[in-house]
Amino acid sequence: MSTTTEYSAATRTGRISNFVDTRMGVSPMVKEFGRKIFPDHWSFMFGEVALYSFVILLLSGTFLTFFFDPSMAHTTYEGSYKPLYGLEMSVAYASSLDISFDIRGGLFMRQVHHWAALLFVAAMSVHMLRVFFTGAFRRPRELNWVVGCLLLLAGLAAGFTGYSLPDDVLSGNGLRIIDGILKAIPVVGSYISMFLFGGEFPGYAVIGRLYVLHILIVPAAILLLIVVHLFMVVVHKHTQYPGPGRTNDNVVGYPVGPVYAAKAGGFFFIVFGVISLLAGFFTINAIWNYGPYDPSPVQAGTQPDWYIGWFDGALRLMPGVLGDFSFKWDIPFPWGVNSIPLGVLLPMIPVGILMVGMIVWPWIERWVTRDDREHHLLDRPRNAPFRTAAGVAGIIFYCVMWAAASSDLIATHFHMSLNDVLYILRFLYFAGPIIGFIVTRRICLALQRKDREIALHGREAGVIEMTPAGEFRERHEHLSDYELYRLVGFENRRPVPAQPGKDGKVSGLEKQRAKLNKWFYEERVEPVTRDELTAARAHGHHDAVEADHGAHGIDR
């Protein structure tokens, strides 16, 4: 007989929980995870939107796989949609049409899937911008930033493979461009294209292959990356915006259980509901308009989904010839002439640079600033003017390419010449990021100066007072300590001059780093110091006493 009697719960729920707990030992996990604190801020929820969109994609996608047949065999359409009745088409397109017109709820699910895909990538992008501009990628989160970048790229891959499946003219044209880019690669390009398409484009293999990628490999990769991503979030703890009582050593917010779990769970259904409403009321990818794929026609308004747009735009921006200079180079080899179509290859270089730059940015910033400390408090974008400006420059560069993908629609809808739209975008492609960088940096510095001004002298109340001596002055309202914290409690970053290396010499690379670093910080606004604040307050108080106005809100 043991001296300890086993715990027996009083209620049925209690007994069931106890049964599970004694067999699986869940309670320590729930205890640990349920008490995990997450800070609350609306801008932290874009990642959640992406996650929920992905879940919705899995659910709706599974439904679609029940009915979609990724075969490129020929068939004659005999479904309900009359404008296509009797046409010869691939089985893939016919089954997509059947999903849209002959399977109950099929069109709705297709639209849910497609809207969720657009939202998935959009939410990931905004989430990334939030992380970038608040500096949340700094140590210890550099690797998680890389995982996030890979997730975005995997999202693009998932989107593009899915876009190509219905085998209508639109998706076929997308594949044709991929085929063209592949074939532009010198020497091996045509082999790679033949390998992908199982022969000459379009062949009979590519949709089956893309289907496997789309429903198996890419989602599995995304799922794996999401697990790693979330695991790292738990390990690192969530970042938080600076505020009174928030330090690099704590996290202020709600625990997961019950508040945060309830909010997050409810938010899933909100996202699902919004996507369902979009899918119910707004057409997306009207495949019945485009018709069965045929390599000969290209239709006006042929564009990829938004996240592939910048590739398309980069190609549209690139001229084929510049005056008499052709970007197609014919290079004679002993075995014959090889053509190098630079008009296709060159635009892919900045696209690649932008992608690689995005992935390695945490290391670039760490190297330039020599800042290798842990950061759990976020930056206000204005307090990191160089990073903010660089980010805006990147956004403009991206957006110019993105806009170029819709150059034809910009031309028709704003009554402009298509050529002029392209000329303007070509100019912005080079000048836009530079102008954006300079303007953003100026704005950030100006905002910092304004913060400083407000911290020291308070807000202009718009009330003009006359002293008994006849002097006019404007009343200033001072901030509460709570508000003040936000304005003064940021890190003062100073330039780090070139440091000698281990051998006691300053290397050339280090000199370059110091130069960049100076560029980062040469103009900066120092946060208000305690002394300055005391002095300003004393001055303000003095004024107030002179004015003999003890009105509430002025000084303390």
């Binding site: 069109l107 639209q111 809207w115 959009a122 979009l278 308009n289 018709g291 564009q303």
Partner: protein, 267 residues
């Protein structure tokens, strides 16, 4: 009235007022702009000598400035000898001629001549030289028993969609020229456009697309125009661009609203 007076300082009062104002002005404009639309039956294809002489008078008064007397053409406008009645009927009937101003291409606008005058002008120009005639009603009848909508759709995608968009929503051409959207274009004008190739459009002669083919194309266009998009609002049928724009504005906008709401009572 009391409720109205009480709520006049409500935060949404301004918004409501704005919406009401917009609705009122928009409604009045829509009413005014449809009131003057001419409604008349298509005239026959045979023209009397009277038509031709009336047409000549109209031509000399309105068209000869650019196209010259006897329509031989000037520096400002091409000769119209041999363009046929169909061409005149299209250009004048859709308001493209007389042209508002020289530009990349003549724009559609409210027709300046009524149907009788248009027919007289057509008669005059047709009398100057043989050309495509105004189509017979048989080829405009989209309910005809021989009509095959699916075939018309295929012909449209192969021949027309590269400029006019797969859903006939229109598209851009070079240097400010464009292919217009084809919604609300009458059967006759679609036929005439195919037969005569106005502005930058190529000519689809009867050897290229037979009158029956043209009828199929028209029937397809009228079918997709009459039937609303099966998936809900079509967002202009412009494809992925409008879809992308929509998810970034409406989709993310609504969700950000929810995010702000969910975190509004936070620590």
């Amino acid at each position: 009235m009391k409720a109205l007076a009480q709520n006049r300082r409500h935060p949404f009062a301004g918004v409501v007022l704005l919406v009401l104002g917009l609705l009122l002005t928009g409604g009045m404009y829509a009413l005014a702009s449809t009131m003057n639309q001419a409604q008349a039956a298509t005239s026959g294809t045979s023209y009397s000598a009277q038509d031709i002489s009336e047409g000549e008078k109209l031509f000399n008064a309105n068209c000869a400035t650019c196209h010259g007397f006897d329509a031989v053409g000037t520096e400002d406008g091409p000769t119209l000898v041999g363009v046929g009645a169909a061409s005149v009927d299209f250009q004048v009937g859709t308001g493209r001629m007389p042209m508002q101003m020289q530009g990349p291409q003549a724009q559609k606008k409210p027709a300046q001549f009524n149907d009788e005058q248009t027919a007289q002008l057509s008669a005059y120009v047709a009398s100057l030289g043989a050309g495509p005639a105004v189509p017979e009603d048989e080829y405009l009848d989209t309910d005809h028993e021989d009509v095959n909508i699916a075939r018309g759709g295929e012909l449209f995608r192969v021949n027309c969609a590269m400029c006019h968009n797969a859903a006939a929503a229109g598209g851009a051409l070079t240097r400010g020229k464009f292919a217009p959207g084809l919604a609300d274009v009458s059967e006759k004008h679609i036929y005439e456009a195919m037969a005569t190739g106005p502005q930058n459009m190529p000519v689809f002669s009867d050897a290229n697309l037979t009158p029956e083919d043209k009828r199929d194309v028209i029937a397809f266009l009228k079918t997709i125009e009459a039937n609303p998009s099966p998936g809900g609002a079509a967002l202009g049928s412009l494809g992925p661009v409008s879809e992308g724009l929509f998810i970034w504005t409406a989709g993310l906008g609504i969700l950000i609203g929810f995010m702000v709401w969910l975190t509004s009572r936070s620590s």
